[in-house]
Point group: C2
Amino acid sequence: MELQDRKEIVENIRYLLQEKDVPKLKNILVDTHPADLADIIRDMEDHEQDEIFRYLEPETASEVVLEFDDVTREQLIKKIDMARLSEIVDEMDSDDAADLVATLPDHVAETVLSQIDKQDRVEVEKLLIHEEDTAGGIMALEFVAVYDDQTVDDAIQEIRQKSQEVEQVYHVYAIDRSGRLVGVVPLKKLILSKPKNLIKDVMTTEVQSVTVEKDQEYVANLVSKYDLVSVPVVDSMNRLVGRITIDDIVDVLQEEANEDIRRMAGITDEEVLQETSSFRISKNRLPWLVIAFIGELVSAYIMSRFNASLKQIVTLTFFVPVIMAMGGNSGIQASTIVVRSIALDEGGASNRWEMLFREFRVALLNGFIFGLLIFLIIYIWLHQIMFGFVVSFALMFVIINSVIVGSIVPVTLHKLKFDPAIATGPFITTSNDIFGLLIYFSLAAVYFKWLQ
Amino acid sequence: MELQDRKEIVENIRYLLQEKDVPKLKNILVDTHPADLADIIRDMEDHEQDEIFRYLEPETASEVVLEFDDVTREQLIKKIDMARLSEIVDEMDSDDAADLVATLPDHVAETVLSQIDKQDRVEVEKLLIHEEDTAGGIMALEFVAVYDDQTVDDAIQEIRQKSQEVEQVYHVYAIDRSGRLVGVVPLKKLILSKPKNLIKDVMTTEVQSVTVEKDQEYVANLVSKYDLVSVPVVDSMNRLVGRITIDDIVDVLQEEANEDIRRMAGITDEEVLQETSSFRISKNRLPWLVIAFIGELVSAYIMSRFNASLKQIVTLTFFVPVIMAMGGNSGIQASTIVVRSIALDEGGASNRWEMLFREFRVALLNGFIFGLLIFLIIYIWLHQIMFGFVVSFALMFVIINSVIVGSIVPVTLHKLKFDPAIATGPFITTSNDIFGLLIYFSLAAVYFKWLQ
């Protein structure tokens, strides 16, 4: 829906709220896609939000709640009474219900769980066991499966029976009599097969599945690599326990990319635009700023300890920004390439050395280019050949050093099972500033000593 | 496939190549998923690559080619003869064929097009008209559509007939007798309906479609918002002309996130790990480095023009790194949040001002915190109250200025139809360094003047 249409609907809804024309209002709400309703409700005032939300059917309300950003959701849920909230949770797929319940305060979660349908409660509790960012944490328990010795017609009957519960069906999974996943039948194949055919005769046995404990990033890479639209999830005995659909994978991909980008920028946690507390946002951004702050005080200390004539120091400091910025930017480029290639699993571990070697060659080349440039500039500007050499060598070394740090740190973090993305951004920049100034001032110290 | 398994297969293939055991080799190749084959081939030596590729069936070869990164693909295609290449292109879906042909040198493209099936050629040429990053550029011409006055049974016959050509079918599109898109029938619905039912009675009329000229990022946001698995593409008259499947959308999402991340790091073009030419990589990274270099020379010039006693200048320069780094990091945080919220279309245009205001408040708060900290440190370290105030105010102003620049620039770029992502990274950092030093040195100049 275009922004213009949305604004019109918002105006309409406002008018109908004032006129208290509930039937017309409900008509609009029914005709609008829940994803758009979420945007519309977010654009309204607090008291309007509550009122509109009250007029939604439980099923629509459940879909709208899932589309909200965290902050809007939290605010609205606080104001809903338990009975209504339970009704809404009851309408959700098991995976969404579990995700929502996980965000509720303990006593609210307990009350809601006690009020929903018993089978749903059992399912939600089963899902809550899994870590949030694993296959088990994002899978749903709604799927269609048949035994491999059943027929195509049986599968169609099974789809019919589960039609309400499982909204999106693109594949029917085939299991053996012990519940182990043995194959998959795309609906297209099902439609084109004879009703009497046995599932084992029409199924594909090469089925990409994941175990419950696999990281969600692994699942997303699998889906993206093999172009899947859903992935069956199995337990350690290969028994089918759940299904992950592509829409959840799309969310994971966006979440992971956002996380990487956020970490590159030195922002600790997810930050939604609807967050209005400056203190909470500030808290989210402070940690890396504090690290950078401390690091740069070390830089200040290094500069203060430097021994030379004041005039020499002053000329030296003109080039501190160039040294810092060129080191910082080159390091960020290298670390970004390395972090992304790890995240997207480009090249196996065998290629890591090649990657580092490649970065080193680029650093040599770029270091040489800017070393030469700065030499020429100092020669033209200050007419100093030897000092030009010092700055030029320093810049070259600093670029090479930053690139080496920028590419080795993420690989090492990855080996140590940390997220390599934390290496990009403030961390690399700050350590490169310190190393850079040390290199620059040390070279200068040698030169000034030699002058005396 | 796990890395370990892949290494084993690579060893096996190497052995069979040496033994010239072609039948066994072909067996392995047939049993391995094309996406894995692409990884395996990439891991091998050049001459091995050529040989293995020759043993692939045209259909497998076509899928493997699509899985390659740009560099590996380019290298391999150069060595394939035209007849074989045409055979491979002939096996592809229209959208993939068009993408591949678009990357070939003109004379090769012409020869290939003249050698493939005539209908395929017409389709590829039809697709090549569209811009690469629009809905028309990523759509395929393979889909299943029926008239809305046909029956469910007709639709099933149509699926059967197109079964070879259209591999993945999840929906059948309904068109009227003028070819206009009027509805969609999920396969699940088709299976559960009676064969004699009319399509118009079982179809959903609320169908999310896009026009050919829409940007691929728009399509990706639509898919992600409404949880779609495929999107029909229509022309300006609402006539159905193509279909975009979720696997292409997943590629778009990854591509767009990569592009943003790359731009944040100041890397001009896409850079694949298989690129081995240091010169090409360097060329890709130099532009932003050059801009940063020039910017920092301006910083050097500002510092050199500063008029004060040498001793004063030296103390002043200790804090240059802190000023630069804190401004840079705060600016990057702000611009990243703004750029991402524009890219993900969080909040309408109405919220842009709120966003800027929010960033301003955070800048005030963080500026105050670090201003206070640096004052305390200077007081403890250098026992200077007034100089502490100067640095403290400078740091506060620099942080606030960086955040304002960092949040206003992307919004402005977006308004002017540039990609806001170019604003993050070196651009913001460099301009903030210049502004930052100007602010810092100007405040210091006022203070030193007052001292005299």
